[in-house]
Each structure stands twice: as structure tokens, then as C-alpha cells.
């Protein structure tokens, strides 16, 4: 006989007793929950009624992801053509607007090449995840484009870059020392993003994506305020996210340094007027080294020697800090934090349960199994966080070494690793204006005005 009759069984005490009994059974035997659930046998209908099936609306068709990949490839090609051949700031801005609208607001920013780093890391270093074709293609295409045409992806294809470029209304230059110091941050962001993705813990690059909240008109207060802050700062400081946070920018820097064709500011001879360097809001134009450096070669060599000597110390210090911080870093993982909580509860050192520990107990997994999984994770994090610390040390040391090197440049040149092909410098170059207008620049005849 069923515990509950179908229909109006609610007759005061009896049903309440039955409820209490059921609740007790459900609470006492969580393991048998699945079997206990069938408390009221589905009725046999007399009039040929068949229960409807729940509908299953299907996800976005996979071929539409291919369409996004094709659009990305087309946009990259267009950006390279506009940036390097047409040399038009106006067209570059239009393409940027398109990218903000399509890749940003219409496709709502997911998934993007910046985030795809984590998919690649999870597929390559983690377990149980196969890289989808679209994620792989999104990861590879901008890097390939950068290998041949420089960072045209950043210039007008990436919606995160394009929205900052559009927000840049009153550009001011950032002091070189500050720019240089902040430019090590993206390496750390890349490291932490790969670390957490490879562990299968989280995709933190996506979690702290500052602009995706705008593209979706939603998001937590943290993401929205981070995005609003960066955009506000971005009205005077050029592309703060791209330069000092974006992890994909690190990879693009490396490939763009090897680029085959890149932004060339002057069409013919540079007259060293430095107008392009003044116009670049991103500090991506290296000035000409007019005079030989005043200091003797031996001094520079000794300085490089000293930096090289402390490099192992910096790397070791980074590794040590990473090793010390491993437990805190590991706590971001669900399994680790849950195991720590359950352990404290079992030991009676905390009172009550969290939602997570309550859910864990309902699933009736043995506590030992949870501890075992958490230990495996923790051990992994011990090694990986040490490596991450060493990586940060390598980056800082590399920056110092880079700063001690002096290279001679006869002309003002775009630093291919930093240049995002925004095409601003062309409009400020007097020689380019000669090419565009066919008029001789007055600066040629009055070089004392420089």
C-alpha cells in the first residue's frame, strides 16, 4: 500500500505523520535516496493519457562555432591589411567597432582567444578534457597572424582591446619606469591562469575578465567595478588591461617579436621628429639612439654581470615564495577547501556545516576518499606553485636583464612586441603626410623646430 494516496490525501495529522516519517527515512539513509524516492507510484491512466516527455532544446549548432573561427580569421586578415597596407586609423577604428559589436555584444565574449589559453592548458596538462576544435583554432589563429603581421589581433579584433581603444579619449603617457614595472604583471596572470586551469580548479582568466560583464549587461559587482575602473582609467591611459594584465598579450609579444611584416611608421626616411613616439599612447615606439651612450662599455658589462649573478637568487626566492604559498593557492580548489572544512567539522573544531559540506555528506562519499583526492591535489599544487614562483622569478630577472641592454636604432621604430597596430602613429608622421597629401613637410626645411 502506498504511503500517500493520490489526490486529496491531506487529512491533517495522518499525512503530517507520514511526512515526518518520510523525512526521517530520507535523512537517515542518504545512500538509499535514489531508491527511496519513488514514494508515489506513477498512476495507470485509464483514458489513454501518455505522460509528455521533457523537451530538450539543443545547444548552439557546432558549425556556428566554425563560423566564429572563420570570422576571426577574416577579421585578422582585414586588420593586417588595414594596419600594414592601408595604414588607415579610421578603418582600423571601424573594424574595432565591429569586433566590439560582434565578438563582444553579439557573441557575448565567449569563448575568446584570451580565455582559450586555459582550455589549451587544461587539455595539455590536466586530465579528462579534450580540446574542442574551435577553442584550439581561436588559440592558434591570432598567434599565427602575429607571427607574420604583428599584434593585429590586439589592434582591432580582440573585443577587450577594441573597447579600451575606443574608450581612449584623452591619451596621456605613462612614465617609463611605471610602464616597465607593471609590464611584468601579465606574466604572473598567465602563470596563475595556466596553474588553475591545468589543475582543473577554475578558469580564473575568465572569472576576472573585466569587460565580459559589459558585453552581457550582467555580472558580479567585482567584475563590473573592475571593468568600469579599467575603462575609466583607459580614457587617459592607453589600454591598461592589454598592457599590464592580459595573459594572451604575453604570447602575442613573443610571436610578434619574430614577425615577418610589422608596422613601419615612416614610408621613407625618418627625420627623427619624435612626433610618432609622442602620439603613441602605448609607449610602443622606441626612440632613435642618436648619440652613443655616454657610459663606457665596461660599466655596462659589469652591470649586466651583476644582474646575471643575482638571477639565480631571484628565481630561487620566487620558487620559495611559491612553495610557501602553495597551501593558500590550493585552497581555491573545491576539493581541497571542502576536505579542509570536513576535516575541521569531523574534529569538532568548527560548529555547523557549510552548504558544500552538507552537500558532500548527502552524496555519501566516504570521507577518506575526499581526503585522498584533496591530498593528491595539494601535492600537485605544492610542485606547481613552486614552479609558478620560479616562473615569476625568471620574469623579473629577465626584465632586469632586458633593462640593462642597450641597442642602437638609427630611426624611430615601432617596438613590434608592444605595438598593437592601432595606426595612430601614421597620422602623426610628417613624412607619411607628405605621401598622403603630396605636399612637402615644413619640418624638412625648419629642422630647428623639432
Amino acid at each position: 500500500m502506498p504511503l500517500l494516496e493520490p489526490g486529496p490525501w491531506d487529512r491533517g495529522k495522518r499525512s503530517r505523520l507520514a511526512l515526518a516519517a518520510l523525512a526521517a527515512v530520507a535523512g537517515a539513509a542518504p545512500a538509499a535516496r535514489a531508491q527511496e524516492q519513488k514514494k508515489q507510484p506513477p498512476p495507470e491512466f485509464s483514458e489513454g493519457y501518455t505522460p509528455p516527455m521533457p523537451s530538450q532544446p539543443q545547444p548552439r549548432m557546432p558549425w556556428l562555432a566554425m563560423l566564429d573561427v572563420a570570422l576571426l580569421a577574416a577579421a585578422l586578415g582585414l586588420a593586417a591589411w588595414i594596419g600594414l597596407h592601408r595604414r588607415s586609423r579610421r578603418e582600423m577604428r571601424l573594424l574595432g567597432l565591429f569586433s566590439v559589436l560582434y565578438f563582444g555584444f553579439i557573441r557575448q565574449g565567449c569563448i575568446c582567444p584570451v580565455g582559450s589559453i586555459q582550455n589549451v592548458a587544461l587539455a595539455a596538462l590536466g586530465s579528462g578534457y579534450a580540446l574542442p576544435f574551435a577553442a584550439g583554432a581561436l588559440f592558434v589563429l591570432p598567434l599565427l597572424a602575429s607571427l607574420f603581421f604583428g599584434r593585429v589581433f590586439c589592434g582591432a579584433v580582440c573585443p577587450l582591446g577594441a573597447i579600451q581603444d575606443l574608450a581612449l579619449l584623452w591619451p596621456r603617457r605613462v612614465p617609463a619606469w611605471l610602464d616597465s614595472a607593471l609590464s611584468v604583471l601579465p606574466y604572473a596572470v598567465l602563470g596563475i591562469g595556466v596553474l588553475y586551469a591545468a589543475a582543473g580548479t577554475a578558469f580564473v582568466i575568465c572569472q576576472f575578465d573585466p569587460f565580459v560583464g559589459f558585453f552581457r549587461f550582467s555580472g558580479g559587482w567585482l567584475a563590473i567595478s573592475l571593468g568600469a575602473g579599467l575603462l575609466l582609467l583607459g580614457t587617459v591611459v592607453g589600454r591598461p588591461y592589454c598592457r599590464w594584465l592580459c595573459p594572451y598579450g604575453v604570447l602575442l609579444r613573443w610571436t610578434a617579436a619574430l614577425t615577418r611584416w610589422g608596422v613601419r611608421i615612416t614610408p621613407k626616411d625618418c627625420i627623427q621628429c619624435h612626433l610618432c613616439a609622442d602620439a603613441c599612447p602605448f609607449g610602443a615606439i622606441s626612440p632613435a639612439t642618436l648619440e652613443a651612450p655616454a657610459e663606457p662599455r665596461a660599466t655596462a658589462r659589469r652591470r649586466l654581470g651583476r644582474v646575471l649573478a643575482v638571477t639565480p637568487l631571484i628565481v630561487a626566492a620566487g620558487a620559495l615564495l611559491g612553495w610557501l604559498g602553495a597551501p593558500a593557492v590550493a585552497r581555491y580548489d573545491r576539493v581541497v577547501s571542502l576536505a579542509e572544512r570536513v576535516y575541521l567539522e569531523e574534529a569538532g573544531r568548527v560548529k555547523g556545516q557549510t552548504d558544500a559540506s552538507e552537500a558532500f555528506r548527502k552524496q555519501a562519499t566516504p570521507t577518506g576518499e575526499l581526503y585522498r583526492q584533496a591530498l593528491v591535489k595539494r601535492r600537485w599544487y605544492g610542485g606547481a606553485t613552486t614552479l609558478f614562483g620560479a616562473w615569476c622569478g625568471v620574469v623579473v630577472a629577465g626584465k632586469l636583464i632586458f633593462l640593462t641592454l642597450r641597442r642602437r636604432r638609427p630611426d624611430y621604430e615601432a617596438d613590434q612586441a608592444a605595438c598593437v597596430s592601432c595606426a595612430r602613429c601614421y597620422t602623426s608622421c610628417p613624412i607619411e603626410q607628405e605621401r598622403l597629401t603630396g605636399l612637402r613637410s615644413p619640418l624638412r626645411d625648419a629642422p630647428e623646430q623639432l
Binding site: P6, R11, P51, Q56, L131, T255, R260, P267, E358
Partner: protein, 199 residues
Amino acid sequence: MAGKLLPMVDDAPEQPQAGRTRRDFLLAGVRTGSVVAAGGLLTILAKAPAAAGTVWQIDPDKCTQCGLCATNCVLQPSAVKCVHTYAMCGYCKLCFGLLKDKRTGNTLSVENSRCPTDAIKRVFVEDPYYEMHIEENLCIGCGICVKGCTRFGNGSMYLQIRHDRCVNCNECGIARACPAGAISRVSVKTPYKLKTRRA
């Protein structure tokens, strides 16, 4: 300048010629190698069975109906909705999913409904059976009805991510928030974890 916003492309500056120095030769080698490697990687990916990709889904057996699905999705209202496997339902006239735990008297009136958006419609089938129909455009995925149905009923109501709404974020907000770890990536070819009538 005013009349000529576009540059004349015919005399665009020439890019430097490559292939002259050893450095150029090495760079060309690196670039060619990278193109070949990327092409190979993408070919392998295109043939892999997982190439079509993944979507997020809730395992109803792990779900604890905590209510975070309604608040932590990037979409408002959430992409999570109540789904009803009618074949498991007891077709009760008074549905634990529909009504409050402490209802007053034996009344069927609307104020006793526990669904905050009145998304559950009760449709008469035959005496004494009623079909509990979910109006998905009203459902916000709070899981209140699911909690009632799971604790006291047949568990025929449960939460699922509806893929006509889900934007398939690379990092799912509710998967991150879920205290039970019930949300994971599943193949795009089997995008639902529907409950079935157990034998």
C-alpha cells in the same frame, strides 16, 4: 588632408626585404615551423571525437537545490530551469513541488503556491490525477519546487541547464558556485542529464 581621409595605397611604403641575413633565415624557419605545427594541431583536433565541444550540465542526483543557480548565472533570469520527467510523477493533486510545507487548511488557492513566479500550472488529467506543467518562460531556476519534490515527492522535478538560453561560458558561474560540485562539462552531443523512470 581634409578631402583625403584614405591614404593612397599605390605608393605604400615597402616592407624590408627578408632573407638576407642569418637572423632572417632563422626567423623564416621558426615561422614556417610554427605554421606547420599549428596546421598539424588543428588537423588532429578536427578529427578528434571531442572536437565538437562541450556544454555545462547539472547532475540531478548530486544537486542539493541550494538556490544559487537562480543568482549565479550570468543570465538574468538564469539559464537553469525546472524540468519535469512526467513519467516519474505521482500526479498528486497537491504537489509538494507546488505547495508550501506549512500550508493552511485544505485549500488549493494560489497563495499556497510556493513557486515565486507561479511557473507551475496544474492541469487536470483525470480524477484524481493532475499534471504539473512547468511554464519555462516564468521559471527562474530557484529550485524551491525541486526541493519539495525531491524531499517529499517522487523527485520527478529537477534542475537542468537549458541550452536554448545558456551562452556556454568558458567558466560557468553556477558551476563555480555549486556547493555540491554537481555541474560539469558534458559532450555537446548529449547535452542533458534527464531523470528516467526507474524500473
